[in-house]
């Protein structure tokens, strides 16, 4: 254990990037993530790297494209409206197979929205905010310590798969200070990058490009990318499972709301109630296997997983993570949802009360303000169809298109 220091989320993620070997940062100011470029501006020169306050978000992401192409560990950061501007660049990074880390400290939207915390960019991050059939590894950390750890992981994954990686934080996470132990971050050295455009002295020139005008060639490239994404799905899922062995109601949340759900779970356990939690740390690849474990089979079949009666999803959005949970659960259990938007944080008391009701009196759930949905479980005969559909939707089938079982 190293020394605990107090750091703001924004500063911690910037320091973690430097620790991970990030030597190029370009950004453009926007609340609530300004401490990231501020910290980089102060720190990057001494670290021997380059900091650029670009003329726009679009310029910044394209500078990152250039730096990544030249082999640097490169990063940009912004908040929701600014991240929208970067989408073209992210698609190009994916298409050209360039490693880069993008940090989004989400604020409320759509449009200019507001500067308080929200999670409305989940779809944009996990389903491809830019054009084309690409995927971006997306982390959804929930503490300042975890911001540090996933940032280091993000640079490593980006390099290993030559793919953009997003750290999807939120305003509260960026602004808050918490104790951090920087020594907990496991920094791995960057791999050799023989593909990088480094001047071509004594070798054939490398070309970095995403333009394939012949459809046959372009499809081949797309297949290659899809194979890579399947590898990432297989190897890079990060998840925290809390009391999943005997949980009857399982909370699901990422980022700041995950803290509220986690606290509620502990309080319910104190009261002898069987609450649990699946906390996705990677949002893509999504930890579907954690759900499969607890919903597989029917209630009649004995098994640890079959105690789960329902899921409870909490988000600072109208239900985006909810859709991935629906795909994973595939109609086998009811899913309850509680969401706030516009920069409003869910109330800890409401989260606790709703989860308690789910455990003790499910009929009374949904009485609190905020957006509350119930996605009912399907009839058993429909489940088989839904499960097959979900497997297809989350891409678990093999590349030959013959379909395949859930992992």
């Amino acid at each position: 254990m190293g020394e605990l220091i107090l750091m703001k989320g924004n500063e911690a993620v910037a320091e973690a990037a430097i620790m991970a070997g990030c030597r190029f940062f370009a950004g453009y100011p926007i609340t609530p993530q300004n401490e990231i470029p501020e910290y980089m501006a102060k720190r990057m020169f001494a670290a021997g790297g380059t900091f650029v306050q670009a003329e726009s978000e679009i310029a910044a992401i394209n500078m990152v494209y250039g730096a990544a192409g030249a082999g640097a560990r490169a990063m940009t950061s912004s908040s929701s409206p600014g991240i929208s501007l970067k989408q073209e660049g992210i698609s190009y990074l994916a298409g050209s197979e360039l490693p880069a880390v993008i940090c989004n400290m989400q604020r409320a939207g759509p449009g200019l929205g507001g500067i308080q915390s929200a999670q409305g960019d989940y779809f944009q991050a996990t389903k491809g905010g830019g054009h084309g059939d690409y995927r971006m590894v997306t982390f959804g950390p929930s503490t300042v310590q975890e911001l540090v750890e996933v940032c280091v992981d993000a640079f490593d994954i980006a390099d290993r798969y030559r793919n953009p990686v997003m750290i999807l934080g939120d305003a509260v996470l960026g602004q808050m200070m918490e104790p951090v132990d920087l020594d907990q971050a496991k920094v791995k050295p960057a791999p050799a990058k023989p593909w990088a455009t480094t001047g071509a002295k004594g070798r054939k020139p490398n070309i970095i490009n995403s333009l394939y005008l012949q459809p046959e060639v372009c499809e081949k490239m797309d297949y290659h990318l899809q194979e890579k994404y399947r590898e990432i799905e297989k190897n890079e899922v990060r998840v925290e499972e809390v009391y999943l062995d005997d949980a009857e109601v399982v909370g699901v949340a990422y980022g700041t709301p995950a803290r509220l759900v986690r606290a509620a779970v502990e309080k319910l356990r104190d009261a002898g109630l069987k609450a649990g939690m699946i906390r996705p740390i990677t949002l893509w690849p999504f930890p579907s296997a954690s759900f499969e474990k607890v919903v597989a089979g029917t209630a009649a079949e004995a098994g640890t997983g079959n105690r789960v009666k329902s899921f409870f999803v909490v988000e600072m959005s109208s239900g985006q993570l909810l859709e991935d949970v629906r795909l994973a659960v595939a109609g086998r259990r009811p899913i309850y949802f509680h969401g706030r938007m516009g920069g409003m944080l869910p109330e800890p008391e409401v989260v606790l009360a709703e989860m308690r009701r789910l455990l003790t009196d499910p009929a009374a759930v949904g009485g609190e303000y905020g957006l509350n949905y119930v996605v009912p479980a399907l009839k058993p005969e429909a489940v088989a169809v839904a499960v097959a559909g979900a497997v297809h939707a989350r891409g678990a089938g093999d590349m030959g298109g013959t379909g395949g079982g859930a992992r």
């Binding site: 107090l6 308080q116 509260v172 918490e178």
Partner: protein, 188 residues
Amino acid sequence: MDHEIMMAGFGGQGIMSIGQLLTYAAMREGKKVSYVPAYGPEMRGGTANCTVIVSDRYVGSPLTSAPTGMIVMSPESMAKFQPVVRRGGCLVVNTSLIDEKASRRDIEVIEVPANKLATELGSDRVASMVALGVLAGYTGAVGIDHLAASLKKVLPSHRHNLIPVNEKALEAGAAIGREARERAAVKV
């Protein structure tokens, strides 16, 4: 026990500094702790506030809508935050700048002429430190020794000459807070 503490005043009163000092002290004491400064439109009006959660186990929400402990250093913050203090919680009121009498009867109100006491101790600038001492003395959220020991971390090095007067301010406030705690215990 979880302490959900907020402090509010106007820019320049050292609100963020006492919030960070409390956070450092809690960390030093081995507690779980979080600090969130207000950075939105609420600070554009010239008021400043921050939230510190101190827990023995786990900090869930780093924000609170009903603080168990509240410091108000200015009339505006008194008007805004008196109503939100959790029933049974405490409100530290800086009577040097706030004329309004607290109307809540379901919370412990501790009136302290923080600026006056600070001036008597040698520097008007440690008024918020007096108030933090009161809150810590009353709630026991962190030890005064840990607050004092954390001053070096929070004050910039060119202000380290003010550490002794800050320590005196914390001690003076803590004595008032502890006294209020004893009075409250007798009432119960």
